[in-house]
């Protein structure tokens, strides 16, 4: 057995080993782009305001209120203090992400199941991690849709990492394992995805994860990929679909903006599935 001191000594030595980073090209890229990045000037010195004496603070606040009141009254009565003819703002048509036509994304012949998703908007990235892992993730990474064969749940999401549970190959095996995760989980409901029978459940965020041993809450491990935790808000929805004998796990995590949520729903509704080698 090692001691913490052993580990710290070895760790320190390892971190100080030679490495070959060269920051020059990063530096050049930064300096080349300075003209495109304006500096942010503090427009309202909040901290200075808080540091003022109460009398000064009151005077500044009163003056601000008066200015707002004068402008408000002027607008309300149709008169304008600063300019006799304020331009009337008119709506300008802009191309929003949601207006862009969805682009079909086919996961290719090597993927474990034939699947196509119509990717909505332009703020989504497509990830093909392996022939059993792929999905669409919003630029903010707060919303995503993922398709895989299954996951390995942890018995104790709040404990330090330990080998997760192995799960059998069937839909029921996976559903049972997911339902056993000690987290808020909805009842399992029978449904369908693209006409294939599916079972659905929703995981809600735990109230807190501060009590977890290392501050991490891990629900499951993707097929030997990274741990998945439920964040402090939002929910994770899963569907386990039986595509003519191929088990497909679809996971939707939605902590994004209303637009991202709407696009996520559209993409989920657009999923087309078929056994591998067939057209979805």
């Amino acid at each position: 057995m090692s001691t913490d001191r052993d580990v710290q000594r070895i760790l320190k030595s390892w971190l100080h080993e030679d490495s070959y980073e060269d920051a020059n090209h990063v530096l050049n890229r930064v300096l080349d782009s300075l003209d495109d990045v304006p500096q942010r000037r503090p427009w309202w010195p909040v901290r200075r305001f808080l540091a003022m004496t109460p009398t000064t603070r009151f005077a500044v606040a009163t003056a601000s209120l008066l200015v707002v009141a004068v402008i408000g009254i002027s607008l309300f009565t149709g008169r304008n203090v600063a300019s006799p003819s304020l331009p009337t703002p008119e709506p300008t048509p802009t191309a929003t992400a949601s207006e862009a036509a969805p682009q079909p994304w086919s996961l290719g012949n090597d993927f474990f199941v034939s699947a196509t998703v119509d990717v909505s908007g332009s703020d989504w990235n497509q990830y093909y991690a392996s022939d059993t892992q792929a999905g669409v993730i919003s630029r903010s990474e707060d919303a995503w849709l993922w398709l895989t064969t299954g996951v390995q749940p942890y018995e104790n999401p709040c404990g330090l990492p330990s080998p997760p549970l192995e799960v059998g190959p069937s839909v029921d095996n996976l559903i049972d394992a997911l339902a056993a995760i000690p987290v808020n989980v909805s009842p399992v409901t029978e449904t369908s995805v693209d006409g294939y029978p599916a079972q659905h459940m929703t995981f809600s965020a735990p109230a807190a994860r501060e009590g977890c041993e290392d501050g991490e809450f891990r629900m499951w491990r993707w097929n030997n990929l990274y741990n998945h935790g439920v964040g402090p808000v939002g929910e994770t929805r899963v569907w386990v679909v039986d595509v003519d004998g191929t088990r497909v796990l679809i996971v939707l995590e939605d902590r994004g903006t209303p637009q991202e949520s709407a696009e996520l729903e559209q993409m989920f509704d657009s999923i087309r599935l078929a056994p591998a080698g067939e057209t979805g």
Binding site: L27, Q39, R40, Y127, Y226
Partner: protein, 182 residues
């Protein structure tokens, strides 16, 4: 750090910023590389952090706090890059079998690969504290200032990181291992 240089850069002096960036870029890249364990992500994090420093520098009230403030921006950039890596980068790893085995002294078995595997299993929060403390030699109070967390939290993260790494190294030190099947 030269506070006069910082003050000049705050006022939009690009030559002053270039000098400032030149002084910190190498250290930033080395630090982010050690946190993220990926040179491409580290370069992106360093670039984002330097640009964020330029952009937000006028909002830094006291140039004397530049170092802690700039580390905070670097760590934020690392977290932003690391979230991407954390969720999606493949992390196939060898797990110990359940068979009982006698442990050997750590020094006898630990190697770079084991350290790499163990370190990658740490969360970004934990890696960051470890790197700031054991690589940059920052004391806990300065780490806390840089990360905007209480000193106790910094100490706790360091403690758990070492404990977790120790557990991982001890587990790896067991002779029999098997690859986890999908």
């Amino acid at each position: 750090m030269d506070t006069e240089l910082v003050a000049r850069a705050q006022n939009g002096d690009k030559e002053a910023f270039a000098e400032l960036a030149d002084a910190i870029a190498q250290r930033f890249l080395a630090t982010s590389h050690r946190i993220l364990r990926d040179i491409n992500l580290a370069e992106d994090a360093t670039q984002q952090a330097l640009l964020a420093i330029w952009r937000d520098l006028p909002q830094l009230r006291d140039p004397a706090h530049f170092e802690a403030w700039s580390y905070r921006l670097l760590v934020r950039a690392c977290y932003a890059e690391g979230r991407h890596q954390r969720r999606w980068a493949p992390n196939l790893r060898v797990l110990p079998t359940e068979t009982a085995a006698t442990s050997r002294p750590l020094d006898a078995v630990v190697d770079r690969d084991q350290l790499e595997r163990g370190f990658r299993r740490l969360s970004l929060n934990h890696r960051t504290v470890v790197v700031l403390h054991h690589y940059l030699d920052l004391p806990l109070d300065r780490i806390a200032e840089a990360l905007g967390i209480p000193v106790g939290t910094a100490a706790s993260r360091l403690h758990y990181a070492v404990r977790q790494l120790r557990a991982a190294l001890d587990a790896d030190a067991r002779p029999a291992t098997r690859e986890v099947a999908q």
